[in-house]
Amino acid sequence: MPAMLRTLARKMGLMAHSFSGGIHPDMHKLSAASAIEDVGISPVLILPMKQHIGSPCSPLVSVGDKVLRGQKIAKSEGYLSVPVHASTSGRVVKIEEHAIAHPSGMGMPSIFIEADGDDLADESLEPLTDWRNVDPTVLRERARMCGLAGLGGAVFPTFIKLVQDKRFPIETVILNGIECEPYLTNDHRLMVEKASDILDGMAIIMHMVGSSSGIIAIEDNKADAAEAMQEALDTKEGMDGVQVKVLPTRYPQGSEKQLIYSLTGREVPAGKLPMHIGVICQNVGTTKALRDAVMLGRPLTERIVTVSGDALPNPANLRVRLGTPIRSLFARQGLEDFSNIQVIHGGPMMGERLRHPDIPVVKSTSGTLALSQNAMQSAHTVESPCIRCGHCSEVCPASLVPNLLADFCRSDQFDKAEDYKLFDCIECGSCSYVCPSNIPLVHYFRYGKGQIALGRREQAFAEASRQRSEGRDERLAQEEAAKAARRSKVRKTHAPKPAAEPETNTLTSATDNTPAATAKPEEKS
């Protein structure tokens, strides 16, 4: 009914599109006015082998090797993957597991580079200043080679989106400058300071996907960024189809599908990508990085990181080389003692809590926060029973029913959880934020998703095992039959034969006769 009214109002032009739900958290944009500062080069840089969504990379260098800034040091394995580059010149000192920003606390194989201070760049990639005359597929390969992944936090390999597909012509390119997470201001400052570069990047994206219209989306709490972008847009040539749109501030507006809905009124169907409805969406930081990769021939080796939090003396926006330990950033901003401090990787709504600050900055590090124990405690107080107030369903941007979903996850009723579309949850945290009972709803959803994934893996493995086992049984039965047949033949002819043959059969057929053994190797992974 309210949805109907809203649609009606929209059709009559009374109301702009807007995703349903959402919250208005305290934004704490402490560092909104601080200009981006360069932090220089840390003595040792730690580069984990996977900084994107997809399959991990494998190292190309070994201990002792000299590397240059921008040199590819790990190659991608598989399609959904991008390589890792050295973020300064120096020597590889070790390759071993190191802590990363992952809730499990498990490590990731990482390459440690000792900086030599010269910061010599690998200049093998030539700048493509005349990119307008370069074939989009070449530019796409450039985006992949330069290790670009979504810098908004999701780190989805960028090149995958930048494609021209005749079935899905891209009508609109959306530049995501929403930055709806509290505290974070890295995109905000980038737009204020590098508006022109970002527009160049946007022009490259539009060229790559063959679209002529674009929208730069900014929330109304970043008026200066919107102004800067508008100003740059007015002076730029050939960007007529692009407009700046200022949206009312609401979390999680920056979430891709929600943003697309707010701007175009169209929903990306579940399980589909924005390109399937003719839209692509890129974060401003990624767009700037794409411009550097194309126009300067520079792989992704640095990013802007907001260092903030209520327990940090000097919040700031920093330009940081990938691999720089987070601890050194906090130290630079005046925080040395981490007792009674909770460190968050990312924003407070979707970021991971870190067990310690000895974790390198990676491609997904949009910010890192030092929150006081009190601030954390108020978000993680003791869970009370759900009183079904329904606030969670009101704020859910995916129109789920979080409290019922949490019940199902808690009681391991995963069939029901899936029926209630658990996998459409974007884990934005709005539900937990408003819950008067302090129920860690997102935690329950993550548990449920993990268990379902585990169940699916187990089931796939069991199915493959069953096929292998049945294949084996069948083969043994055939051999048995063959043996019996031979034996009866032997009995008829009274001429004994050596029985070694079936033995060897077994061995070779162990791999040959089992279709499942070779047919479905990826099912298990």
């Binding site: 029973p385 019940d407 808690r410 009681s411 009723q413």
Partner: protein, 193 residues
């Protein structure tokens, strides 16, 4: 027309077999742990109840009364119900083995479900016509299905609640059924038939 609607309403709500006549409590408690099972059971009972009430009316009118064998009423009715239950059991076993498994013993027990026999006998006692007895049987079955499914929904919710150990399972189910019965008292006097 109004009369038929009132008969139906009366059988479904006002004189609900489970909550106001307290018949058929056994399958009501036994097959209500899951909504899906309850829906399956509801259809089984609807099938048996409607057909049993019409068949027993026919038998009563055209066999028992002409032959003056009314004293065999109960035996005949049970024979009808038992055959119908056998039939539906085979049908469910064929179409939905999982439901068959879930209903378990309660499926054959529809035979001795007092609600089914109750409907058949009450029909005869109330001297209904063929049409009204079919309607009455159908209404009673719908009423049974309604409360069974509602109750199953409630029990699914109770199942994930931290119920005190002493009340887990049947005790709380009975308390809840009692509360439902109280609520259904609100319907009393709604239809004066």
């Amino acid at each position: 027309m109004t009369e038929f609607a009132l008969i139906l309403l009366s059988a479904v709500l006002v004189n609900n077999y489970v909550l106001t006549k307290f018949l058929g409590i056994c399958p009501f408690l036994g097959t209500s742990s899951k909504v899906e099972t309850a829906i399956g059971m509801s259809f089984a009972v609807m099938f048996v109840m409607t057909l049993a009430s019409t068949a027993s009316w026919l038998v009563q009118q055209y066999v028992l009364i002409p032959l003056e064998l009314q004293y065999l009423q109960t035996i005949f009715f049970i024979l009808i119900i038992a055959s119908l239950v056998q039939l539906i059991e085979m049908m469910i076993h064929k179409t939905s083995p999982v439901l068959y498994q879930a209903l378990g013993i309660f499926l054959p027990l529809i035979t001795t479900n007092c609600a089914v026999l109750g409907v058949a006998i009450l029909n005869v006692q109330q001297e209904q016509t063929f049409l009204t007895s079919a309607l009455y049987g159908g209404g009673a079955a719908i009423g049974f299905a309604l409360v069974l499914i509602l109750f199953a929904g409630i029990r699914e919710r109770i199942d994930v609640s931290p119920v005190p150990a002493a009340f887990k399972g049947s005790p709380l189910a009975l308390i809840t059924a009692g509360m439902m019965s109280l609520a259904f008292m609100g319907f009393s006097g709604l239809v004066k038939v």
